[in-house]
């Protein structure tokens, strides 16, 4: 695998990547064209990727047996072994919240139980790092909306509103990949038109807000924020938004301009694995090209209906017909067949995670990999899913975080608030603050993880 990146950031660059991944993905050739927007993600800047997988984990099969340097990993987290020196795992973190899967979903990125003040860390960072980017934060999902409900969402905006997660790669593709055949003049006309319309709409909203006073103020405030975000993203770089030119491997999946039917092509279970690969490609490219400084990649959602029976699932799941959540009620550690199946499910998600890390690792920015520059945090909404508790949350952090992460460690605590982990993540992206979410649920970072 080769990577070439010119150092002068104001010129258009050509980056050509090709190679065989360590995890037997077919040959993937990606031609990327990055432009001035790369300046915004120069070496040493902060990038964060949050990854969500559903329905908890089996702590004994996920966390390293002993504290200390990570030398080996148990069965579920085994796929992450190639990254053991860039990884930290902390056992014993607990959510101080209530309410089963749904309570955990609202909590896992917000660190708060106050339903009216949920503000998740991905958007929190995006709002602070994202000026000048096309997306302050990019939220991509694989079946994240399919058979979901308001109580299962994990990402929240500063207003407390649910932050939509995009499950359709075609829409993202159209939004920030440079579509060939369009001239700069055409793009400019469209931008001008959009700008005029946005100005008009913002003025109309303000006038309506004046008219209505306190009535629906929060709703209209959120609407105004949305329009202003859109306006900012319109001229987020000289080329009309950070953009990735070139090629995306659609892996044989055809997603028409107009989705039809239910479940449609992006909702169908048999496409879950392919969509996961595509979304991972897009996310890595978006972080690389400077489309966004912060990503959220969400696989399914709490109480997941996904049926893990794809080509690449472990043998024990071949022919499986049960949804992920059904399998998550594995019947206790004594139920061997239940444990085998559910641990195979979570093993599969860790395999997907390893593929994302692999892509980040082989993407070079200067002499560092994207993984070295990024902070990647993976988490889930419950502890043990059979017990629906919030202990031993199966989270982990990977990546150099531009030198701020003291990686390669296995830590073990006894019932420590998970909020400390969220605070640690802020430190890793250069925001050393003492609380996040509900400050009464824990103050200060996990110092051991910081350099």
């Amino acid at each position: 695998m080769t990577s070439i990146m010119k150092t002068a950031l104001t010129r258009r660059k050509l980056l050509q990547l090709s190679g065989m991944t360590a995890l037997s993905i077919p040959l993937l050739r990606t031609l990327l064209e990055c432009d001035e927007a790369v300046a915004a993600v120069a070496q040493g800047s902060s990038r964060a990727l949050f990854i969500y997988y559903p329905d908890g984990n089996l702590a004994p099969l996920f966390f390293p047996k002993n504290p200390g340097r990570i030398t080996d990993l148990p069965s579920i987290s085994g796929p992450l072994l190639p990254f053991k020196d860039k990884l930290s795992m902390v056992r014993g973190l607990e959510y101080l919240t209530t309410g089963s899967h749904e309570g955990g979903a609202a909590f896992c990125l917000t660190g708060s139980t106050n339903k009216s003040k949920l503000y998740s860390i991905d958007n929190y960072l995006g709002d602070r790092l994202g000026d000048g980017f096309k997306y302050k934060s990019l939220r991509l999902g694989v079946g994240a909306n399919f058979q979901s409900g308001a109580e299962k969402y994990i990402s929240y905006l500063s207003s407390g509103a649910i932050a939509p997660v995009q499950d359709n790669p075609r829409i993202v593709f159209n939004e920030f990949y440079q579509v060939p055949g369009r001239s700069a003049a055409e793009i400019s006309i469209e931008q001008q038109r959009k700008k005029s319309v946005l100005d008009y709409t913002i003025r109309s909203l303000q006038s309506i807000q004046n008219q209505l006073g306190a009535v629906e103020k929060a709703k209209l405030d959120q609407h105004l924020t949305a329009l202003r975000d859109m306006e900012k993203s319109l001229f987020s770089s000289s080329s009309g938004g950070g953009s990735c030119g070139g090629y995306l491997d659609w892996r044989g999946l055809e997603i028409s301009e107009e989705l039809k039917g239910y479940p449609n092509v992006i909702e169908r279970n048999e496409n879950f694995e392919t969509l996961s690969e595509i979304m991972a490609d897009i996310m890595v490219q978006a972080l690389q090209c400077g489309v966004t400084p912060v990503g959220l990649l969400q696989w399914s959602h709490a109480v997941s209906p996904t049926v893990l029976n794809f080509q690449s699932v472990p043998t024990v799941l071949q022919g499986n017909a049960s949804g992920h959540h059904d399998l998550s009620h594995y019947g206790g550690m004594g139920n061997q067949s239940g444990v085998e199946k559910f641990s195979a499910c979570q093993f599969w998600f860790m395999t997907q995670l390893a593929k994302v890390l692999e892509r980040l690792e082989r993407t070079k920015i200067g002499d560092q990999s994207l993984l070295d520059q990024s902070m990647v945090f993976a988490t889930t909404e419950v502890g043990d899913p059979d017990l629906h508790h919030f202990e031993d949350i199966g989270c982990l952090v990977v990546g150099g975080a531009s030198g701020r992460h003291a990686a390669g460690q296995s830590l073990q605590f006894s019932k420590r608030s998970y909020n400390h982990m969220l605070i640690t993540l802020l430190h890793m992206v250069g925001m050393p603050q003492n609380t996040f979410g509900d400050g009464s649920l824990g103050q200060g970072p996990i110092g051991e993880l910081l350099k």
Binding site: N114, L157, I162, V197, E216
Partner: protein
């Protein structure tokens, strides 16, 4: 060390003899802290702040992870203001369960606190709060006396158009039947309500999607521009030419007021014309210039808050706000048609006649007779019963019969059956729930094995009746490889009886025993119901689910599941008494005769109309509506007809 503990409860209310569902787990107020060292025991003081409408409250202090091992358990009556329980200091879970007539109404949850408490020596005070969905603490109160209660309106609000409403509004406005909404951020369901109007807001993803959709609309319009402009020649002239300006002004007046479903304010008209004119970069460039300006104009109209939201703001009238004529027109059309007002409604709004109840009554009759009314029951059924679940719910590979074609037919069966019973046969709720036939669609009789007669399937006797027997429900609320009595029990309680079942509190953690693969579903699920703590809620749920064990996971009647089926069931406190039944058919008949179920139907339609969960005070509106339009024998059509014009929907607060 001294710890102050705070708990909240899910809000439930008692109304007459019926219990209405809890709302939401929310935040709570801070409790007072008054600790002192008294001994080496942790004394837990519980102070009750809500009124005594329960006949039993059980407080349990138990091991953190296992409620089956209570360290202390005490029941106290509603009259007791507070009580103390002593236990060695340590880490505990605490649960409180409120019961009414022996049935748990709700359990408490902690908030802002760990699910487990460190109880130290001395006094640990727990203040119990009952909080409503907005996190406000509700103090002691008595059930509302509806005889003394005024109408309780919904709040003034702006309601974002649903996807279907957006689609239909564009179609009526432009004549274009475009697939625009598939790329919109997904509509989310909260507490059974799709796109709850208090939670549905426009994010950047929404505004991007709306923008793209409006670009598609204007492209469609430009491809047949003469349909929208009868003066297109004038637009070939200089943009500043009077005929050009007149032509575009006429378009703005007509198109924008229809899009906004209200008269166009002078300010809006001027600003839209200004936008059109301001877009011009080369005044004499003719047609091409027009196209660009026209694009901007139409896109601006379709992204205007007057287009995107349904306005329910009203004008001051006494203590309330009365919806204006245009808002009434939209209330009627979006409720009954999921679309915008048509020309007759607009005409009446223009003349100011829609505040006249007899005019409204005529319009409602007309609208219900229109085919658009049938098309609009689908979103109601999806919201109420979740029938779209059948289109995607996981089923095991052995169920080859359960193809996507069959799933679609089963979905259509329920929609068409409801419409047939409501609009053609004009039957009552009782018949909806107890009909001995269903509507034949596709190959669904492979599931039902009934007798075909014209468009109907007559169902085999004693297997199933009415809506509850529909496979769209039975298969949706089941697992891939087995029936699931819990899913079905909760479904019946929440959807047909409007009793919310709270999730198990984390303090109530129990370790369920491993499953025995050779047992039947009833025995497998009975294991957790035999646990004393679980049983408190599950006897309410499982009694219903077990009684539906004669239906397998794809909704086929069965008599064997490893062992012969035992479908004896029990509904607790249905219309005030516990009712035993045998199988899904008898359950359907019980529901068909139940006043509680009939009233729940009214509640479900109320939620559909308002896009909100009803407040406690709105229970009185609902009771009045039920007494007027939802009595035994009222036709479903008359219930819908009466409800949509109920006075409570024409005012806001």
């Amino acid at each position: 060390m001294r710890v102050t503990l705070k708990s909240i409860a899910l809000l439930g209310f008692v109304f007459g003899f019926q219990i209405f569902g809890g709302l939401a787990l929310v935040s709570c107020q801070k409790g007072a802290s008054k600790g002192r060292q008294v001994s080496d025991l942790a004394v837990v003081k519980v102070k009750r702040l809500n009124e005594g409408q329960y006949d039993r409250i059980t407080l349990t202090i138990h091991k953190p992870d296992d409620a089956t091992q209570p360290a202390q358990q005490q029941e106290f009556s509603p009259q007791v203001e507070s009580l103390d329980m002593a236990t060695p200091p340590g880490r505990y879970g605490i649960s409180l369960i409120y019961s009414l007539k022996g049935i748990p109404v709700y359990t408490t949850f902690q908030c802002g606190n760990p699910p487990h408490f460190e109880l130290s020596a001395g006094t640990n005070q727990i203040d119990i709060y009952v909080c409503d969905a907005d996190g406000k603490t509700i103090g002691p109160r008595s059930p509302v006396d509806c005889k003394k209660s005024d109408l309780e309106p919904s709040p003034r609000q702006l309601r974002l158009l649903s996807h279907l409403q957006y689609h239909n509004t564009i179609r009526e406005l432009t004549g274009l039947d475009l697939n625009l909404t598939a790329d919109f951020p997904k509509e989310v369901k909260s507490h059974g309500i799709v796109s709850r109007s208090d939670l549905t807001v426009v994010t950047a993803s929404h505004s991007e999607a709306f923008h793209k959709a409006s670009e598609k609309v204007v492209s469609g319009m430009l491809s047949q521009i003469s349909r929208y402009l009868d003066c297109s020649d004038a637009l070939k002239t200089d943009i500043r030419a009077p005929e050009h300006q007149q032509c575009i002004s006429r378009f703005i007046e007509k198109f924008a007021s229809k899009a906004f479903r209200s008269p166009l304010a002078t300010q809006d008209r001027d600003q839209l014309l200004g936008l059109y004119n301001g877009m011009s970069t080369a005044p004499n460039s003719g047609r091409q210039d027009f196209t660009e300006n026209y694009r901007a104009l139409v896109i601006a109209i379709l992204n205007h808050p007057r287009f995107l939201y349904r306005w329910e703001i009203g004008v001051t009238q006494g203590a309330y706000f009365q919806l204006n004529d245009w808002e009434i027109a939209s209330h009627l059309s979006y409720t009954l048609w999921s679309g915008p007002p048509d020309d007759p409604l607009i005409g009446l709004a223009e003349k100011g006649q829609l505040k006249n109840p007899s005019v409204v009554s005529q319009q409602v009759k007309r609208m219900l007779a229109d085919p658009k009314a049938k098309a609009a029951t689908e979103p109601f059924l999806r919201q109420w019963l979740g029938i779209d679940g059948v289109l995607s719910v996981n089923k095991g590979a052995k169920h080859t019969i359960f193809s996507s074609n069959l799933r679609e037919s089963l979905y259509q069966e329920t929609v068409d059956f409801f419409n047939d019973m409501t609009f053609e046969r004009q039957t009552s709720f009782r018949h909806l729930m107890s009909a001995e036939f269903t509507t034949n669609r596709g190959e669904i009789n492979k599931i039902y094995n009934g007798r075909l007669q014209s468009d109907l399937i007559f169902l085999p006797t004693n297997e199933r009746v009415g809506l509850l027997g529909h496979t769209s429900l039975l298969a949706t609320y089941a697992d891939a490889e087995e029936s699931n009595p819990i899913k079905r029990g909760v479904f019946v309680l929440e959807k047909f009886l409007c009793r919310d079942i709270p999730p198990p509190p984390p303090a109530l953690m129990v370790k369920p025993p491993p499953r025995d693969p050779n047992a039947n579903a009833r025995d497998r699920f009975a294991q957790h119901s035999s646990n004393a703590q679980c049983k408190i809620c599950h006897k309410q749920i499982d009694g219903i689910g077990f009684g539906m064990e004669d239906m397998d996971e794809i909704g086929r009647f069965r008599s064997v599941d490893n062992t012969p089926i035992d479908s004896s069931g029990m509904i607790l406190n249905l219309d005030g008494k516990d009712q035993a039944f045998q199988g899904t058919a008898e359950l359907g008949k019980l529901l068909s005769q139940s006043a509680e179920a009939r009233r729940c139907f009214v509640i479900q339609y109320h939620r559909y109309i308002t896009g909100l969960l009803e407040t406690q005070r709105q229970q009185c509106n609902i009771q009045k509506i039920s007494e007027n339009f939802g009595v035994e024998g009222s036709s479903l059509k008359s219930t819908l007809e009466g409800m949509v014009q109920d006075a409570s929907f024409f005012i806001r607060k």
